[in-house]
Structures are given as C-alpha cells and as structure tokens.
Amino acid sequence: MKKQGVGARLIRKEDDRYMRGRGEFVGDIRLAGMQDAAFVRSPLAHARIKSIKVPDDLAGCVFTAADLDEVKPITAVTALPGFKPSDQPVLARGKVRHVGELVAICIAPDRAEAEDMAARVEIDFDALPAVHDMLMAREKDSALVHDHWGDNIFLETLVDDDMKAAAGEAAVKVTRAFSTARQCMSPIEGRGAIAHWDGRLEQLTVHSSTQMPHIVRSGLSECLGIDHGAIRVIAPDVGGGFGYKGILLPEEVCLAWAAMHLGHLVRWLEDRRENLTASANCREHHYVVTAYADKEGKLLGIDAEATVDSGAYSAYPFSACLEAAQVASILPGVYDFPHYRCHTFSAATNKAPILPYRGVARTGVCFAMELMIDAVARELDMEPTDVRMKNLVRPEQMPFDNITNKHFDSGDYPEALRRTVEAIDLTAVRQRQKKGESDGRVIGVGFAMYCEQAAHGTSVYAGWGIPMVPGHEQANARLTPDGGLEIRIGAHSHGQGLETTLSQVANEVLGIAHDKIKVVHGDTAFTPYSTGTWGSRCMVMSGGAVAEACDQLAERARGIAAKMLQCKPTDITLKDNRAIGPSGELTIEEIAYIWYRRPQDLPPDVNPSGLEVTAGYKPERDSGTFSYAAHAALLAVDTLTGEVEILDYVIVEDGGVLVNPMIVDGQIFGGAAQGVGTALYEEMRFDADAQPLASTLSDYLLPGPAEIPSIRVFHMETPSPYTRFGVKGIGEGGAIAPPAAITNAINDALKPMGAELTMSPVTPRRIVEAIVAARSEKETAA
C-alpha cells in the first residue's frame, strides 16, 4: 500500500464533492414548510429609536424587540481587569449602535416578499452623533456608544517597562504611526441558517454555516434560556469561514426564536450587502511605535501604543478585546530585545463589532513591527534583512520564552530568512535597481517575518476568560462491522481538508486504508463537544485526539486478534489493514466482523468495551505551537499611476511536521491571497456619520486571480517538541505577512524619492500622494 499516513501528499477526499458541485451548503438545503426571513436593519450608525411602526396587515410576520422580550442579549465578557461588557440585543432595543444592526425580523414564503415587508416597516429615529473613528472615540468629549460607560473603552491594557534604559544606550530612536484599514471577511458563502422546532423531540435544530457548532449551541442556549440538550446545531458544508463563521450572530438567535414560536421552519441567507455593511468587520488597528536601536541595528527597546477599533459590541465568543489583548503579547514578533512597553486600547465605535479574521491581530502586528524594522534600517542605512538577522531569536535559544512570556517551541528563524533572501536573490535585485527599468517603473524588494501561536489552550485562554476556554479535545473512533473506520470530531472542516488529514492520522496509527475511513463532523448530535475550528488548532488538537482514540482502538483490536491468534496483544502488529501475529494474521475486517457479527466465536473473557472509543488529548504543553515564516516580495511600482505589479513572491515556512504538504501549500496560497487583499485592495471606509461606504464587491475590492502572483513556497520542518507527530498549526500564517512584505517592498522602491507608506491597503492613490508629498517636502527643504 502506498503511504497514506502522516506526510503523504494525498488528494483531498472532500474535493470530489466540492469540485463536482455536489457539496451541500445551507443554501442548498430544502426542507418542507420553510419560509424566508429578511431583516429590517438600521440605516443609521447611532440613533435613539422613538417608535417602530409595523403595518397592521403584517402582524404575525414581522417581529421587533418588544416581541422577543424573553430573549437575552448576546454577551461576551472577558475576565481581563477593567473590561466593560456590552449587551448586544438580538433586535435593537431603545438605541441602534451601528449601521445594519437588526431592528425587526420579517418572515414570508420567500425572500423577495420578506424584503417587501421589511421595506414597509417605519422606524422613527432620533439621530445621535456617531463615533466613526477609534482615536476620536478615545477623546474625552466623544459621543458615547454605551451611555453608562462614561467613555468608549472596552478595555485598556499596559505592559509597562522603563524605556529610559533603552533610550540611554540607543544610537537611533525611530517613531512611526501605522494603521490598517477596516476589512470585511469575504467567504464565498455568506452566513446562513435554518431553524426548526421539532415537536416530537422537543428540540430546536439549527442548520448554520458555522465553524463552531458546539459554541453556537451554547450561545443559543444562553440567549433563549433552553437546555443544551434541547438544541442541535448542524454545520453542513461551509463555504469558507476565516473567523466570520466562528461568531454567534443575532440573526441565528432571531431565527431560533421565530421557529420556536411560529411552528414552521425559518431560513435566512446572508446576502453580500448584509455581509459588507452590517457584519463581517475585522482588522482595523492603529499604532504609534518607537524603536530604540544601537548603531549596529540591534534593537534595545520597543515602545508602542495600539488602538483597535472594536466596533459597537463584544462579539460572542471571542469578545471585543481579543485583538488588542493579543497585540500586546505578540507585537515583539520573532525578535529578542530587552525592553518593551505596550499600551493598548479596545475602543468602542458605531461600527459593526470587530470579529477575528484569519491571522487574528497578527496581520496588523506584523505590519507594525516589520515596517518598523525597515524604518530602523532606513535610519541606519542598513539592509533591512541585516537588521532582522541581528535581532531574530536564534535556534540555540529554543525553546525560548520571549519578553511577553510567549513560549516559542522550536525553529530556526535566521535560516528561514537566509533561504528567503537567497530565493528572491537579493543581490541580483540590488543590481537591477541600480540599472533601472526600461519601462520607467521602479522596483523594490521587501521582507516580513512572523511566528504564529496556534492550538493554544487552557493556560492561555483561561487568563482571557472569554465565554469559550478550550480544554482537552475529544475524538471518537469506531470500527464498523465491515472493517471501516468512522472518526467523529467536534471541530469543523471547511477548507482545511480535515476529512483527509485526520484519515491520514488514523491510517498512521491503525493502518486502515484511507478510502475506508470516514470523518464525521459538523453536528452536535453526533460529535464530541469541541470549541470548534479556530486558532489553527485542528491538526494539533483534533489530530492528537484522533491519534489517541485510534491508539486505544488499536489496543482493543489487538486484544481481539490476540484471542483469535492465541498470542499476547503485544505480539500483534497492525499494518496495511491487517493484524499480524507470530503465527498468523487477521484482517481488520475480520476482527470487526467477529466482534459485531460473530460474537459466539469470542472467548468469554474478551474486553467488553468493544470497538468504539472516545478519547481526549492535549499537548504536553498547551501554550501553543509556533510555526513561522519569512516572506519576500519583489514588485514594480508605476510612480505616475501608483499601480503595483508583484513580480515574485517567496515564502519559506516552517509548520513542523506536515501531515499533508499539498494541503499546507493550499492553505498558504489561500492565506497569502487574502494577505494581498489586505496589502493592496481591501478597505471598508466610513464617513463621519459612520456610514460604511461600500455595499457591493465593486466598491469593496477583493483581489481576483489576475491580482494574485505566482507564489513560491519552500518548507522547513522543525517538529514541535510538544505535540503528537510534531505537528504545528499552520492554517492562518499565509495571511499574516503579505501586507508587511509588500509595503516594505513598495517603500524600498520609493526610497530614492523619500516616500514611505504606513497605512494598508497601499492603494495607487496613497502611493502617488506619498510621492507628491515627498517631492514637495524636498522642494520646501531646498
């Protein structure tokens, strides 16, 4: 049998149905008696609701907060000291706090009719001044998003240090302000749900496009005040998650309430306008960073102030503070330096709540830190890669506890950088730059590095104290009577390829052929509890749990085989679908057949537990695995139009032992494509009334195939010392570094003109404006 275990480059099992259009997403599900919901949403960012008028003929089809009296608001607290909780009403009560906030639910036989109803609901508002900017939100005289708070700060944190020590020794002090635009996560499939009350089972069933079905169940239970046991959440095929599907939405709670009260099924499918204007917000950070360095480029200290625009409410379960709290702990990145101070603010504004997006906080942090490294290099007239090399954590320091007590488990960061420099051929680029381009453009090269904590568990999340703290992860493994294997996990696969990679793990342990293994996920009725798919955790956590369950199952299979082969269980080897003993062998199929269909052949003292196991797993240390990478971009800038063409893009990545390198490549490509979006295209702008200025994908630009460069990925493989097989989480990394690498490359290209960009996305307009500003600055100076 060809190798099908850990390390095999197998074609993804799930792609057969995806590529043939046979997947089943929420929008494909047809259930009898299903009606459609449309929502009346707030057109204003901040206003008091004076009255809501529902036309008389719509009674029984349109519901407002007054109808949902017994439903509790969505509340996601954290245990971090000073945190101010927000209550997110599922339908607005008294006040609206962002454009798109739900005010009423309208239910009709189809969506068009439901939208007709929504258009007839009249709301009388008293407009209030909107808080549209996170820095203005922090000011004393700002309007208040939550009146009783007294300010607009969800949470303020401070990692303090005496920066005088760093300043005293420093040859240079460099200060920069950075900002990253608000983005909207854009999975191809939006959110969507169907809610159904089953009178016989006395159970609410919710089909939801979610990456965390068990967490949605907990959230629904808390808001609706019904037992977990009375709720079943099914996540069918999900068309991309990226974090957006890890959130309990008020829409889901409204649908559940409606199904429980109306006696028929209710469906809502998010459309792109709702996705863009009302919901999928992420990424908006602002930084002021000062770096102190000696004249060799060695960093002596970093002093930062970071603000995250958290939006109006604390989203469930990740809270309004996950981003800023992480910023403080991960800003130092892959570097080792002695002094660090970081002051963070999670600011409330009249925008949709900020949600975690692939790379959570790291994309912004990497942008700030990696642009800072280049700024220091510029100040010292050094090659930016030399400054990086001087400050990277070295392999002999591993495992390494950094300045914020992050425990870097393993790796060789300098080697990743060296390989990247070689692959992009820095020397050749510098020569080419001297020669100039025949088409009049200027070229630049930029680098960025990060490390990515993944699969971090109890010890990390208990401190944050959000509604969801991951513990041990469970998996269930069951041999079927025909010798097949069923694996059940509580996490969800929606692009990660877990149906394939977890089969590989099971194959590695049990030797059962890949095509005889079925991975079941996405249904709270069939799977063990799990916090779900987030934080690049599944390969480590579900993979570890599957291995553990398979280990125990192997024990049981060996036990039965030993009885039949009249040897000791320890004499049995499982390989290629067979249990091989000293004097004979059985196939797995035969073992299963005997257990299930011919128990009369078994001796009476056989272990009665059978061929089904639920087992749990946690790595030896649960502080997380640290995969890491170096990215390099080579690009050309048209200085007249500001257009950018990426000429080459290199990624050297270390994700520990790779279960399926082909899937990892796919994850990296997908993440990097999103990173290109962050770097050059994606931006949700707001006006002074906090109105989102894009409502379609022709205003909110996503990169398409023509905008994504051909990416060259190279792997290093340093196993994690703490996890089963040495795997590390790797799913998010691709999205982290591109904004920094690309912006550094643009700044490298523009260096002779004295222009420097510090905001993402780096649009053509911003490039031209920076060039013009640098030119006029030069002229003024002259």
């Binding site: 068009a112 939208e115 379609t696 022709s698 649009t763």
Partner: protein, 278 residues
C-alpha cells in the same frame, strides 16, 4: 437583495417596445442586464415592467453599406471581441471590447445597453466618443440620429426620451492609416475604470481627437487637442504635457481631486503613446 415584483415582456419588434414604453411610464428596457441586474437586486431601480429586447432580430444585426456601418444595439461585447462583427476601426473596437469587465459580463452585456446607460466610466462611451460615433434612436414618429457627443448629458444622463429606444450605433469608417489608442487605469482586472484615455488619429483625413474619462464625471472630448501639447503638434507625442493636459481638463469642467485628474492625464498620455507606437 431581491428585486421588487415586476412584469416581464419580450416583444419581437421595435414598434411593440415603443408601445409598451408608452403605456408604462415605470417600464425599464432590459438588454444584457449586466448593470440593470444588480441594480434590480439592490432595489436601486424598482420597475413595474421589464421589456427584454434581446430577441428582436434587427437589434443584433450589423447594417453595412457604402455609407454607413451600424452595429445593432443588442450586439454583445463578446461578439465584437471575437470578431463576429467586422471592426471598421482597424481592430480598435475588438481591443476595447476585450477589455470590458470579465468575459462573463461581455457574453451578455451589449453595446447599446452600455451607451444608453451612459456610465461615464464605461469603455464604450469613451471609445465611441473618440471615434465620433452616432446613435440611431427609434421613436413613435420614426428614427433619429444623434451624435454620441451631445447625447450624453452627464453621468448616466442622456437625452433619450421616455418613449425612445437606441437601436444601433453608427461607427465612422476611418481610413486605412487611422490609428487608435485606448488606456484604462483600474484597480483590478474587470473593474470599472478609474481613468480612461482614448486617442484616434487619421493623417489622411486630419482627424485627431482625444478623450479623457474617469470617476463619475462626464468624459471630456478634445476634438482639437493642440492645447495639450507643448509645441501644439498632436502628432509629436513627445510634446504631450501632463500639466497642460490637467489644466485643459480643469478648463473643460472636470473637478476631481489632484490624483484623479493626474491619472486621467496619464491615461491620455499612454493612449497617445499606444496610438503613435509603430
């Protein structure tokens, strides 16, 4: 994002279209639907009746004789791109067609629909303005011809009457030596242009025109582009002057910000380079 309820008619002749328009002031013409479709879904238009004109045979024909070359209003961008319709402008129409949005859009989108909608950022508007295109318009009393320049009154604003239908686009035949340039600046493949420059020059006839377009402002046509050139000679591409071009655009009434104005001038300059390159 679902349209309001509307009726749908698919007449077989132009006369019927005019009758339906006359009887239903809240009717909308549906050609390729590539703009109207999304606008319906966003409820930005809420018609009572959609009149689908794509099955009217004469609207997908090309009418050609010694005097005229008229492309039916419902000819798709893809038909032009693929050369299924002869290009009287030495390949210029094919090239412009091939750069419109995405292939999927080009397969359904029509030249008449684009010009009737008159989005200032649309490719056909600039391309046919620079060529000196004319529209053939059906009305109750018969047919009229209107120069595209003048027909467009502003962004998405034309002098098309409520009971009128654009039936064909007349494209002037250039001489064999006519040269053209078209440069579009847009954020990503397939998006509407941030800036367009278009140039046509015919040394046989002395015809030399340039167009600049962008944003939501009406395109500007220079039928005498001398003021854009340092030495006043449009055939000397090297003397095209960005600052003079920006001044001229301002004078012509364009009021965008500095960046937008700049890239419109760049687009003109690059269209010129293309037209003049060997």
């Amino acid at each position: 994002m679902k349209p309001v309820a509307f009726d749908y008619a698919r007449p077989r002749g132009i006369a019927q279209v005019l009758e339906l328009l006359d009887a239903n002031p809240a009717a909308k013409i549906l050609a390729g639907g590539q703009t109207l479709g999304p606008m319906l879904n966003l409820r930005l238009v809420q018609p009572e009746l959609l009149i689908d004109i794509t099955r009217i045979a004469e609207l997908v024909e090309v009418n050609e004789n010694d005097d005229i070359y008229a492309i039916g209003a419902c000819v798709t961008h893809a038909a032009i791109e693929d050369g299924r319709v002869r290009d009287p402008a030495n390949g210029f129409l094919r090239r412009v067609a091939s750069g419109i949005a995405y292939r999927a859009v080009r397969t359904r989108g029509t030249i008449g629909g684009s010009l009737s909608h008159a989005d200032p950022a649309a490719d056909w508007l600039s391309a046919l303005l620079v060529l000196g295109g004319e529209l053939e318009i059906a009305h109750a009393g018969g047919m009229r011809r209107a120069a595209l320049h003048g027909f467009v009154k502003g962004a998405m604003e034309t002098d098309l009457g409520a009971v009128e239908l654009v039936t064909a686009i007349h494209v002037p035949r250039g001489s064999r030596v006519a040269r053209h340039g078209f440069h579009k600046i847009c954020r990503k493949t397939g998006e509407f242009a941030e800036a367009i420059g278009a140039v046509t020059t015919d040394t046989d006839t002395g015809f030399f025109r340039m167009v600049a377009a962008g944003g939501s402002e009406q395109p500007v046509l220079f039928d005498d582009p001398k003021p854009l050139f340092k030495n006043g000679d449009p055939l000397d591409a090297g003397s095209f002057d960005m600052d003079m071009a920006m001044d001229a655009l301002r004078e012509a009434g364009m009021e965008p910000d500095e960046y937008e104005l700049r890239i419109r001038a760049v687009a003109m300059s690059r269209a010129l380079q293309e037209a003049m390159s060997p």
